[in-house]
Protein backbone atom coordinates (compact mmCIF):
# COMPACT_ATOMS: atom_id res chain seq x y z
CA UNK A 1 0.00 0.00 0.00
CA UNK A 2 1.60 3.22 -1.14
CA UNK A 3 0.08 6.59 -0.56
CA UNK A 4 1.13 9.75 -2.39
CA UNK A 5 0.86 13.05 -0.57
CA UNK A 6 1.00 15.71 -3.26
CA UNK A 7 3.03 18.80 -2.68
CA UNK A 8 1.97 22.00 -4.44
CA UNK A 9 3.66 25.39 -4.21
CA UNK A 10 2.07 26.78 -1.05
CA UNK A 11 1.04 23.47 0.54
CA UNK A 12 1.79 23.54 4.27
CA UNK A 13 0.17 20.46 5.81
CA UNK A 14 1.96 17.88 3.71
CA UNK A 15 4.56 16.95 6.33
CA UNK A 16 1.99 16.62 9.11
CA UNK A 17 0.07 14.23 6.86
CA UNK A 18 3.19 12.24 6.03
CA UNK A 19 4.02 12.08 9.75
CA UNK A 20 0.65 10.59 10.66
CA UNK A 21 0.74 8.04 7.86
CA UNK A 22 4.34 6.95 8.42
CA UNK A 23 4.94 7.33 12.12
CA UNK A 24 1.52 6.64 13.60
CA UNK A 25 0.19 4.11 11.10
CA UNK A 26 3.37 2.66 9.70
CA UNK A 27 2.23 3.18 6.12
CA UNK A 28 4.32 3.67 3.03
CA UNK A 29 3.64 7.33 2.34
CA UNK A 30 5.60 9.51 -0.03
CA UNK A 31 5.73 13.23 -0.57
CA UNK A 32 5.50 13.89 -4.31
CA UNK A 33 6.01 17.21 -6.07
CA UNK A 34 2.87 17.85 -8.08
CA UNK A 35 4.68 18.25 -11.40
CA UNK A 36 6.42 14.89 -10.94
CA UNK A 37 3.36 12.90 -9.91
CA UNK A 38 2.65 9.72 -11.83
CA UNK A 39 -0.10 7.56 -10.36
CA UNK A 40 1.44 4.19 -11.24
CA UNK A 41 2.43 2.36 -8.08
CA UNK A 42 0.20 4.41 -5.78
CA UNK A 43 -2.94 3.10 -4.10
CA UNK A 44 -4.21 6.44 -2.84
CA UNK A 45 -3.52 10.16 -3.19
CA UNK A 46 -3.90 12.86 -0.58
CA UNK A 47 -4.14 16.53 -1.50
CA UNK A 48 -3.02 18.31 1.66
CA UNK A 49 -3.98 21.63 3.20
CA UNK A 50 -2.26 24.93 2.63
CA UNK A 51 -2.47 27.89 0.31
CA UNK A 52 -1.52 26.49 -3.07
CA UNK A 53 -0.58 29.24 -5.52
CA UNK A 54 -1.37 31.84 -2.88
CA UNK A 55 -5.11 31.17 -3.27
CA UNK A 56 -4.92 33.36 -6.39
CA UNK A 57 -8.16 33.66 -8.35
CA UNK A 58 -9.84 31.27 -5.91
CA UNK A 59 -8.50 28.77 -3.40
CA UNK A 60 -7.54 25.58 -5.21
CA UNK A 61 -8.32 26.76 -8.74
CA UNK A 62 -4.81 26.90 -10.13
CA UNK A 63 -3.74 23.63 -8.49
CA UNK A 64 -6.82 22.02 -10.03
CA UNK A 65 -5.14 22.62 -13.40
CA UNK A 66 -1.81 21.09 -12.38
CA UNK A 67 -0.63 18.20 -14.59
CA UNK A 68 -0.95 16.07 -11.42
CA UNK A 69 -4.71 16.38 -11.58
CA UNK A 70 -4.86 14.24 -14.70
CA UNK A 71 -3.48 11.37 -12.63
CA UNK A 72 -5.65 12.26 -9.63
CA UNK A 73 -8.71 12.18 -11.87
CA UNK A 74 -7.68 8.80 -13.28
CA UNK A 75 -7.20 7.39 -9.75
CA UNK A 76 -10.65 8.66 -8.82
CA UNK A 77 -12.09 6.90 -11.88
CA UNK A 78 -10.25 3.70 -10.94
CA UNK A 79 -11.94 3.76 -7.52
CA UNK A 80 -8.74 4.51 -5.61
CA UNK A 81 -9.04 6.82 -2.62
CA UNK A 82 -8.44 10.49 -3.38
CA UNK A 83 -8.56 12.59 -0.24
CA UNK A 84 -8.64 16.40 -0.17
CA UNK A 85 -8.05 18.09 3.17
CA UNK A 86 -8.91 21.79 3.46
CA UNK A 87 -7.10 23.32 0.45
CA UNK A 88 -7.17 19.82 -1.06
CA UNK A 89 -10.98 19.82 -0.71
CA UNK A 90 -11.04 23.17 -2.49
CA UNK A 91 -8.92 21.66 -5.30
CA UNK A 92 -11.31 18.72 -5.67
CA UNK A 93 -14.36 20.97 -6.02
CA UNK A 94 -12.49 23.24 -8.42
CA UNK A 95 -11.45 20.20 -10.47
CA UNK A 96 -15.06 19.06 -10.57
CA UNK A 97 -14.21 15.80 -8.77
CA UNK A 98 -16.56 16.77 -5.96
CA UNK A 99 -19.71 18.85 -6.41
CA UNK A 100 -20.27 22.38 -5.12
CA UNK A 101 -17.92 25.14 -4.11
CA UNK A 102 -16.11 26.49 -1.06
CA UNK A 103 -16.59 30.22 -0.74
CA UNK A 104 -15.29 32.88 1.62
CA UNK A 105 -16.40 32.25 5.22
CA UNK A 106 -19.62 34.01 6.08
CA UNK A 107 -17.85 35.92 8.88
CA UNK A 108 -15.15 36.95 6.36
CA UNK A 109 -12.33 36.12 8.73
CA UNK A 110 -9.92 33.21 8.87
CA UNK A 111 -11.27 30.71 11.41
CA UNK A 112 -8.81 28.60 13.37
CA UNK A 113 -10.28 26.48 16.17
CA UNK A 114 -11.43 23.06 17.26
CA UNK A 115 -14.90 22.01 16.19
CA UNK A 116 -17.26 19.16 16.96
CA UNK A 117 -18.36 17.13 13.97
CA UNK A 118 -21.05 14.51 13.51
CA UNK A 119 -20.43 11.53 11.26
CA UNK A 120 -23.38 11.57 8.85
CA UNK A 121 -22.32 8.70 6.65
CA UNK A 122 -19.73 5.94 6.72
CA UNK A 123 -19.70 5.18 3.04
CA UNK A 124 -16.62 7.32 2.44
CA UNK A 125 -13.02 6.11 2.57
CA UNK A 126 -12.36 8.42 5.52
CA UNK A 127 -15.39 7.58 7.65
CA UNK A 128 -15.52 3.89 6.78
CA UNK A 129 -14.85 2.66 10.33
CA UNK A 130 -16.86 5.32 12.15
CA UNK A 131 -20.39 4.70 13.36
CA UNK A 132 -22.99 7.03 11.91
CA UNK A 133 -23.95 9.65 14.48
CA UNK A 134 -20.56 9.59 16.24
CA UNK A 135 -19.29 12.98 17.42
CA UNK A 136 -15.63 13.66 16.76
CA UNK A 137 -13.37 16.64 17.40
CA UNK A 138 -10.94 18.10 14.89
CA UNK A 139 -9.38 21.50 14.27
CA UNK A 140 -10.25 23.74 11.34
CA UNK A 141 -8.14 26.55 9.87
CA UNK A 142 -9.49 28.26 6.77
CA UNK A 143 -10.86 31.43 5.21
CA UNK A 144 -12.71 29.79 2.32
CA UNK A 145 -14.67 26.92 3.81
CA UNK A 146 -18.31 27.87 3.26
CA UNK A 147 -19.78 24.93 1.39
CA UNK A 148 -22.32 26.11 -1.18
CA UNK A 149 -24.26 24.17 -3.77
CA UNK A 150 -27.68 24.28 -5.35
CA UNK A 151 -30.35 23.16 -2.89
CA UNK A 152 -31.38 20.37 -5.24
CA UNK A 153 -27.80 19.07 -5.41
CA UNK A 154 -27.47 19.14 -1.62
CA UNK A 155 -30.67 17.13 -1.23
CA UNK A 156 -29.14 14.59 -3.59
CA UNK A 157 -25.94 14.44 -1.50
CA UNK A 158 -27.96 13.73 1.63
CA UNK A 159 -30.04 11.10 -0.13
CA UNK A 160 -26.92 9.29 -1.35
CA UNK A 161 -25.09 9.41 1.97
CA UNK A 162 -22.48 11.70 0.44
CA UNK A 163 -22.56 14.25 3.25
CA UNK A 164 -20.05 12.67 5.61
CA UNK A 165 -19.42 15.29 8.31
CA UNK A 166 -21.36 18.26 9.67
CA UNK A 167 -20.44 20.96 12.18
CA UNK A 168 -22.41 20.39 15.39
CA UNK A 169 -22.57 21.65 18.96
CA UNK A 170 -21.50 19.63 22.02
CA UNK A 171 -24.80 17.78 21.96
CA UNK A 172 -24.52 16.85 18.32
CA UNK A 173 -26.97 19.39 16.94
CA UNK A 174 -26.14 21.25 13.71
CA UNK A 175 -26.96 24.71 15.09
CA UNK A 176 -26.05 28.03 13.40
CA UNK A 177 -23.69 28.77 16.31
CA UNK A 178 -21.82 25.53 15.68
CA UNK A 179 -21.36 26.48 12.03
CA UNK A 180 -17.98 28.22 11.81
CA UNK A 181 -18.18 29.43 8.20
CA UNK A 182 -21.80 29.56 7.06
CA UNK A 183 -21.71 26.26 5.14
CA UNK A 184 -25.10 25.20 3.82
CA UNK A 185 -26.57 22.49 6.10
CA UNK A 186 -23.44 22.84 8.29
CA UNK A 187 -21.59 20.64 5.79
CA UNK A 188 -17.93 20.03 6.68
CA UNK A 189 -17.13 17.14 4.36
CA UNK A 190 -18.54 15.23 1.41
CA UNK A 191 -17.66 12.31 -0.84
CA UNK A 192 -18.49 11.18 -4.36
CA UNK A 193 -21.04 8.43 -5.01
CA UNK A 194 -18.48 5.64 -4.79
CA UNK A 195 -17.07 7.04 -1.56
CA UNK A 196 -13.47 6.98 -2.80
CA UNK A 197 -13.17 10.72 -3.46
CA UNK A 198 -13.47 12.59 -0.18
CA UNK A 199 -13.11 16.25 0.73
CA UNK A 200 -13.27 17.84 4.16
CA UNK A 201 -12.37 21.22 5.66
CA UNK A 202 -11.27 19.95 9.13
CA UNK A 203 -7.69 18.70 9.54
CA UNK A 204 -7.55 15.05 10.68
CA UNK A 205 -3.74 15.14 10.49
CA UNK A 206 -3.68 17.85 13.16
CA UNK A 207 -6.00 15.93 15.45
CA UNK A 208 -4.43 12.48 15.37
CA UNK A 209 -2.45 12.55 18.62
CA UNK A 210 -3.69 13.23 22.13
CA UNK A 211 -0.75 15.49 22.88
CA UNK A 212 -1.92 17.93 20.18
CA UNK A 213 -5.54 18.04 21.28
CA UNK A 214 -6.99 20.15 24.10
CA UNK A 215 -9.31 17.21 24.74
CA UNK A 216 -6.64 14.53 24.52
CA UNK A 217 -8.56 13.16 21.53
CA UNK A 218 -7.10 11.15 18.66
CA UNK A 219 -10.15 11.26 16.39
CA UNK A 220 -8.14 12.25 13.33
CA UNK A 221 -6.32 8.94 13.47
CA UNK A 222 -9.58 7.04 13.02
CA UNK A 223 -10.11 8.79 9.70
CA UNK A 224 -6.75 7.61 8.41
CA UNK A 225 -7.35 4.12 9.83
CA UNK A 226 -10.60 4.13 7.87
CA UNK A 227 -8.62 4.96 4.75
CA UNK A 228 -6.36 1.99 5.42
CA UNK A 229 -9.29 -0.40 5.75
CA UNK A 230 -11.00 1.07 2.70
CA UNK A 231 -7.81 0.43 0.68
CA UNK A 232 -7.60 -3.11 2.01
CA UNK A 233 -10.90 -3.97 0.44
CA UNK A 234 -13.19 -2.40 2.95
CA UNK A 235 -13.53 -4.95 5.74
CA UNK A 236 -15.11 -3.05 8.59
CA UNK A 237 -13.73 -4.00 12.00
CA UNK A 238 -16.60 -2.53 13.95
CA UNK A 239 -20.03 -4.10 14.15
CA UNK A 240 -21.04 -7.66 14.94
CA UNK A 241 -17.66 -9.05 15.97
Amino acid sequence: MRIAVLNFPGSNCELDTIYVLRRLLNLDAELVWHEAFDRSGYDAAILPGGFSYGDYLRAGTIAAHSPAMKHVRAMADEGKPVIGICNGFQMLTEAGLLPGALLRNEGLSFVCRWVSLRVESNRSALTWLLPKGAIIRLPIAHAEGRYVNERRAIRELWRNGQVILTYVDELGNPTPDANPNGSMDNIAGICNERGNVVGLMPHPERGAEGVLSPFGSEDGLMLFESLLYFMNGGDRICGAG
Binding site: L57, R58, T61, A64, H65, T93, E94, G96, P99, G100, A101, L103, R104, N105, E106, G107, L108, V148, N149, E150, R151, A153, G182
Partner: protein
Amino acid sequence: MREYLVEVIIQNKEMAKDPEGETIERDLIHRGGYDSIRAVRSGKYLRMLVKADGPERAREIVVKMCNELRLFNPVVHSCSVKVRASGRKGGD
Protein backbone atom coordinates in the same frame (compact mmCIF):
# COMPACT_ATOMS: atom_id res chain seq x y z
CA MET B 1 -4.46 41.13 -36.30
CA ARG B 2 -5.47 43.67 -33.66
CA GLU B 3 -5.45 43.62 -29.87
CA TYR B 4 -8.61 44.22 -27.85
CA LEU B 5 -8.99 45.17 -24.21
CA VAL B 6 -11.33 42.64 -22.65
CA GLU B 7 -12.76 42.73 -19.13
CA VAL B 8 -14.00 39.74 -17.15
CA ILE B 9 -16.17 40.19 -14.08
CA ILE B 10 -16.86 37.20 -11.84
CA GLN B 11 -19.43 37.48 -9.07
CA ASN B 12 -21.44 35.24 -6.79
CA LYS B 13 -24.85 34.21 -8.09
CA GLU B 14 -27.82 35.45 -6.08
CA MET B 15 -28.15 32.05 -4.38
CA ALA B 16 -24.65 32.36 -2.88
CA LYS B 17 -24.53 34.95 -0.12
CA ASP B 18 -21.93 37.65 -0.61
CA PRO B 19 -20.79 38.65 2.90
CA GLU B 20 -18.06 40.92 1.53
CA GLY B 21 -20.58 42.95 -0.48
CA GLU B 22 -22.95 43.04 2.50
CA THR B 23 -20.24 44.28 4.82
CA ILE B 24 -19.09 46.97 2.39
CA GLU B 25 -22.68 48.13 2.03
CA ARG B 26 -23.50 48.09 5.74
CA ASP B 27 -20.29 49.15 7.43
CA LEU B 28 -18.82 51.47 4.83
CA ILE B 29 -21.43 52.82 2.43
CA HIS B 30 -24.44 53.14 4.76
CA ARG B 31 -22.32 54.10 7.75
CA GLY B 32 -20.72 56.74 5.54
CA GLY B 33 -24.12 58.28 4.86
CA TYR B 34 -24.88 56.91 1.39
CA ASP B 35 -28.30 55.48 2.19
CA SER B 36 -29.52 55.66 -1.39
CA ILE B 37 -27.15 52.85 -2.38
CA ARG B 38 -28.15 49.21 -1.95
CA ALA B 39 -27.60 45.66 -3.29
CA VAL B 40 -23.81 45.92 -3.30
CA ARG B 41 -22.14 42.78 -4.64
CA SER B 42 -18.41 42.16 -4.59
CA GLY B 43 -16.61 40.26 -7.31
CA LYS B 44 -13.38 39.67 -9.11
CA TYR B 45 -12.20 41.80 -12.01
CA LEU B 46 -9.67 40.69 -14.63
CA ARG B 47 -8.56 42.68 -17.66
CA MET B 48 -6.56 41.40 -20.56
CA LEU B 49 -5.39 42.20 -24.06
CA VAL B 50 -6.50 39.71 -26.69
CA LYS B 51 -5.25 39.38 -30.23
CA ALA B 52 -8.16 38.66 -32.53
CA ASP B 53 -9.72 39.30 -35.93
CA GLY B 54 -12.43 41.51 -34.50
CA PRO B 55 -14.15 42.43 -31.22
CA GLU B 56 -16.66 39.57 -31.45
CA ARG B 57 -13.86 37.06 -31.98
CA ALA B 58 -11.93 38.54 -29.01
CA ARG B 59 -14.98 38.03 -26.84
CA GLU B 60 -15.46 34.47 -28.07
CA ILE B 61 -11.87 33.56 -27.22
CA VAL B 62 -12.20 34.88 -23.68
CA VAL B 63 -15.60 33.25 -23.08
CA LYS B 64 -14.18 29.91 -24.25
CA MET B 65 -11.14 30.36 -22.01
CA CYS B 66 -13.28 31.24 -18.97
CA ASN B 67 -15.38 28.11 -19.47
CA GLU B 68 -12.54 25.78 -20.31
CA LEU B 69 -10.17 26.81 -17.53
CA ARG B 70 -12.97 27.43 -15.02
CA LEU B 71 -12.02 30.99 -14.30
CA PHE B 72 -15.40 30.96 -12.61
CA ASN B 73 -17.23 28.14 -10.87
CA PRO B 74 -20.55 27.82 -12.71
CA VAL B 75 -22.24 26.38 -9.62
CA VAL B 76 -21.88 29.59 -7.65
CA HIS B 77 -20.57 32.32 -9.95
CA SER B 78 -21.78 34.29 -12.90
CA CYS B 79 -19.22 35.59 -15.33
CA SER B 80 -19.54 38.50 -17.74
CA VAL B 81 -17.12 39.26 -20.56
CA LYS B 82 -16.99 42.67 -22.22
CA VAL B 83 -14.80 44.02 -24.97
CA ARG B 84 -13.96 47.50 -23.73
CA ALA B 85 -11.70 49.11 -26.25
CA SER B 86 -11.70 48.73 -29.96
CA GLY B 87 -8.63 47.18 -31.48
CA ARG B 88 -5.23 48.65 -31.72
CA LYS B 89 -2.52 47.10 -33.75
CA GLY B 90 -0.86 44.17 -32.03
CA GLY B 91 2.81 44.02 -31.17
CA ASP B 92 3.87 41.72 -33.97
